[in-house]
């Protein structure tokens, strides 16, 4: 039974429920758990696989890899994406690389070290068992991708090259110029297309999942809208996998694709799937700064730039308007090198981002001054940018060597800003990039709804409160290629005995009708504000109060504002056109409606977690010198939230985090 949680901060906004725990990871030493689980999982014999249908939503690294692998295994796979081709999924935009514990560099790397770095980087808020398994399968991922023909960077000897990445001191990152995500995704896409040709996978592009079908307590299908014809259809299956990515677009401006959305996850949440740690957001330090109000998205530049670029701001406020090349060395503040001498510019993302914000808050930011409104409603002009300078690297390595490593990133910067980064330092500023939070899953990646599996960024499992660079690709592919195909069988082994569910099942009818009703409602409001204007307003609220620094006061303001925004949305939004047509406004409207509800939950989660950890920085919880301060005594758990109704108090289920293989420490990169 849920009881009011008087002792927790923000207790007026939620109720406390029973604890939740992962029941699937076997006991025993951590390095044996995965092989034991693989042995313990029930199997489906190849002849029976043909009789089982699995729905996979999403075609990114996790979804594409899972669809291809389950297709190869012989299941009937139905694969859905909202884009016009599976190859468009936003995994494609990842630039930097993919980690793997190959130790090709002979620099003390190992499965354990990758595991250790990931847990530490996640600020001790990730589940140990899942992370260890991720480190274990990492080497297989590289083998698999190379076999598919992924053109990783190579050395002259013909073997694979590695580079270092933020937050670690070994070189374990495999890369393909600045387009690693693209190459990995194309590898998965090709494997997927091969299965489509073989007939094991049926692909449905331009289909958006709008509801999950839960029948008799199990996930048994989805409702989609055909984005070309508007047809709303139901699809039934024995299990459903969501690999629908992250929800960074709740901030309106983020590095996510314009279409990236939370709808699939949120609909599942509303049907009973717990949403874990929604407030854990990663703000990436090396993005191109905002140019103005009409900006639709932000562009990230790989943080590999921090390997050779040096980050600085003018030491004196009066220098901020000067041409950076005219500011002498002694008047530059290389603040990351100053504050964190051992990691310097390679500190984890959350730290690099927050320090950039601090510098700009101090008034030492650079670039155009942009109007901002502070908590009290006062307008002020703030420069939101810091320099990322390659002049020293160009001197040391030569322009050609720098161009070989970062050429495409420099070109991209030049194209977007109109400035030449070989001559003037780039300006960068943090932007929302990735969300560590997502649907709660157990060791098998199964959510709190039986038969609903969640893979990739859409789940919460591996990165704790902060993700290390080059680990997202690893997780997506790890989940899709190696984890799901070895765990979902444990559930499917019994699926032939489940009761039949057909189109007339009350749960199916209810799901279909509810989607139609919602679409009709959106089209009938015919108010005076555009969908985008609501989305922008939500983004402002989230960025201001639930962005890089959060306070109890601010979060409470945000929750009120979001409640008002939701009410206004459902009474004043204007959606043009009809359902039975290609209607991008309608698509967007549904997504924004879900973002608004999610935004509120994120604020509640951020409000209750009165500690600073990873990407979640609570101003009330910091050390004397402004570093994040965790409270392991109170918050050593993952917060899994249960939906109870729109505007109703969600129920908090804590999953205690148990560290057996790793000693808890306060993170230090000094």
């Amino acid at each position: 039974m849920a009881t009011t949680a008087n002792k927790l901060p923000g207790a007026d906004y939620f109720t406390l429920g029973d604890k939740v725990a992962d029941t699937k990871a076997p006991a025993g030493p951590i390095e044996k758990k995965w092989s034991q689980r693989q042995f313990g999982a029930k199997l489906v014999n190849p002849a029976n696989r043909r009789k089982l249908t699995v729905i996979i939503v999403g075609t990114g690294l996790a979804g594409g890899a899972a669809a291809a692998s389950l297709g190869e295994a012989g299941y009937n796979v139905l694969n859905f994406c909202y884009q016009d081709s599976p190859r468009r999924a936003h995994s494609i935009a990842a630039q930097g690389g993919i980690n793997a514990a190959k130790n090709y560099r002979n620099d003390n790397d190992s499965t354990y070290r990758l595991f250790y770095d990931t847990v530490k980087g996640g600020d001790y808020r990730a589940r140990e068992t899942n992370v260890y398994r991720l480190a274990e399968v990492s080497a297989n991922i590289i083998d698999q991708c190379v076999a598919q023909g992924v053109p990783f960077a190579r050395e002259y000897g013909g073997l694979l090259d590695n580079r270092s990445f933020g937050g670690v001191q070994v070189q374990r990152t495999f890369y393909a110029r600045g387009q690693t995500g693209q190459q990995l995704l194309i590898g998965a896409y090709q494997a997927l297309e091969r299965q489509i040709a073989a007939g094991t996978v049926k692909e449905y592009t331009r289909h958006e999942m709008l509801e999950l079908i839960v029948a008799d307590g199990r996930a048994r299908g989805i409702v989609t809208r055909d984005m070309v014809t508007g047809e709303i259809e139901t699809w039934l299956a024995d299990a459903v996998v969501l690999a629908t990515g992250g929800y960074g677009n709740v901030f309106y401006l983020s590095t996510n694709a314009m279409g990236s959305n939370v709808t699939a996850s949120w609909r599942a949440h509303r049907k009973g799937a717990y949403f874990a740690n929604p407030c854990y957001t990663q703000i990436h330090p090396t993005c191109i700064p905002v140019h103005g109000e009409t900006q639709s998205k932000l562009t990230l530049m790989s943080e590999s730039l921090r390997n050779d670029g040096r980050i600085w701001v003018p030491a004196k406020v009066e220098d901020c308007e000067k041409d950076p090349r005219e500011i002498p060395e002694e008047d530059r503040d290389y603040y990351l090198e100053r504050i964190y001498p051992s990691f310097g510019n390679l500190v984890p993302r959350d730290i690099a981002s927050r320090q950039a914000k601090n510098m700009c808050d101090e008034g030492r930011g650079v670039g155009p001054a942009i109007k901002e409104v502070d908590h009290d409603g006062n307008e002020k002009l703030v420069r939101r940018g810091v320099y990322l300078d390659f002049s020293e690297a160009i001197e040391r390595l030569g322009k050609d060597a720098v161009a070989a490593r970062y050429g495409n990133l420099f070109d991209m910067y030049a194209q977007i800003t109109g400035e030449n980064p070989y001559e003037t330092p780039m300006r960068i500023y943090p932007a929302v990039h990735y969300v560590m939070g997502g649907l709660w899953v157990d060791y098998d990646l199964e959510s709190s709804i039986p038969g609903l599996y969640v893979a990739g960024e859409a789940n919460f499992s591996d990165h704790g409160a902060n993700r290390l660079g080059a680990s997202a690709l690893m997780q997506g592919l790890g989940d899709g290629y190696f984890v799901l195909p070895n765990t979902i069988n444990d559930y499917l082994a019994d699926a032939l005995k489940f009761d039949k569910v057909d189109e007339d099942h009350p749960a199916v009818v209810e799901a279909l009708d509810s989607v139609k009703e919602r679409v009709d409602k959106l089209l009938s409001i015919q108010g005076t504000r555009t969908v985008d204007s609501f989305h922008k307003e939500l983004g402002h609220i989230m960025w201001e109060y639930c962005g890089m620094e959060r306070t109890e006061e601010g979060l409470k303001i945000a929750i009120d504002k979001i409640d008002d925004l939701r009410d206004e949305f459902w009474s004043n939004v204007k959606v043009t056109g009809v359902n039975e047509d290609f209607n991008q406004t309608l698509e967007k409207a549904g997504r924004v409606a879900d973002f608004i509800e999610l935004g509120r939950l994120m604020c509640v989660d951020a409000l209750h977690r009165k500690e600073s950890c990873g990407g979640h920085f609570r101003a009330e919880s910091q050390t004397e010198d402004g570093e994040a301060l965790r409270h392991d005594d109170q918050f050593l758990y993952a917060a899994a939230w249960e939906y109870t109704g729109t505007g109703e108090k969600p129920v908090l289920h804590k999953e205690d985090l148990v560290y057996e293989a790793i000693e808890l420490k306060q993170r230090s990169y000094k």
Partner: protein
């Protein structure tokens, strides 16, 4: 800046389309071309008119979803100093008061869905015909089992950067999909992993390409000129070499 747009409006695949003129005010030069279209759409929505449908997603030039013909060139390449996707074309490439024509990709293999949106699923079909290495998950040898010369790895990479946007087809006077097909052929032909299926792959992919209603290649070069990823034209020669060689191989039919 103020811009006059002439945009192709077409309700659906069956209906006739036409150019419609719109004025867009207060365009900043830092805006991307698609942000300018967003601005137009916000305005149209408030007026109760249907916004212009266009495909877009990542808006950082890598997903390949966006793509329109701007002033007669795919992705507005003619207005950009560098290779670009539509989303990475910025308004600083245009002058105040400019009149800009915007049309969808036009090719038989890419039917129009609505306004500027076309159906490019034919590209997926070409990949399905053989644009992969047949390796099941879990069956891969150790990554260092095969060394690849840097030269070949780089050439494979140059071809593998294709984003499947379809600009090559849109720009080609024959509406051929040869550059797209050749990019995949070249990517896999340069790597040891691609060798076992090499003769079969090229036969199947070219066969599927032709069956899908793309035109034939006459080596004009418009495709490479508009390609946002600068896929070199010589990939087409690589495809032709492989195709000729495959005629003398017994692999496949």
């Amino acid at each position: 800046m103020n811009i006059t747009l002439r945009v192709w409006r077409q309700a659906n695949a069956q209906s006739e389309g036409r150019m419609v003129t719109y004025q867009v005010q207060d365009v900043s030069e830092d805006m991307s071309f698609l942000e300018m279209l967003d601005l137009l759409n916000e305005d149209l929505t408030l007026k109760g008119e249907e916004p212009v449908a266009f495909d877009h997603d990542c808006r950082e030039g890598i997903c390949g979803m966006c793509g329109v013909v701007i002033n007669g060139t795919a992705h507005g390449r003619g207005n950009s100093p560098v290779a670009t996707t539509t989303c990475q074309l910025h308004m600083r490439s245009f002058s105040d008061g400019a009149v800009i024509d915007v049309e969808p990709w036009r090719a038989g293999a890419f039917p129009v869905i609505k306004d500027l949106v076309v159906d490019r699923s034919a590209f997926d079909r070409i990949i399905q015909a053989g644009g992969y290495v047949s390796v099941n998950t879990g069956a891969a040898p150790e990554a260092h089992a095969n060394a690849v010369s840097k030269l070949k790895a780089d050439r494979a990479f140059d071809a593998a950067t294709c984003i499947g946007c379809g600009a090559c087809v849109a720009a080609c006077p024959n509406h051929s999909g040869m550059l797209f097909t050749a990019a995949k052929i070249t990517h896999l032909a340069m790597l040891p992993q691609g060798q076992p299926e090499r003769p079969l792959r090229v036969k199947r992919m070219v066969g599927e390409h032709d069956a899908l209603g793309f035109g034939g290649c006459t080596n004009i070069g418009e495709c490479a000129a508009v390609c946002p990823k600068e896929i070199p034209l010589d990939t087409i020669s690589q495809l032709n070499r492989d195709l000729i060689a495959s005629l003398f191989k017994r692999d496949g039919k």
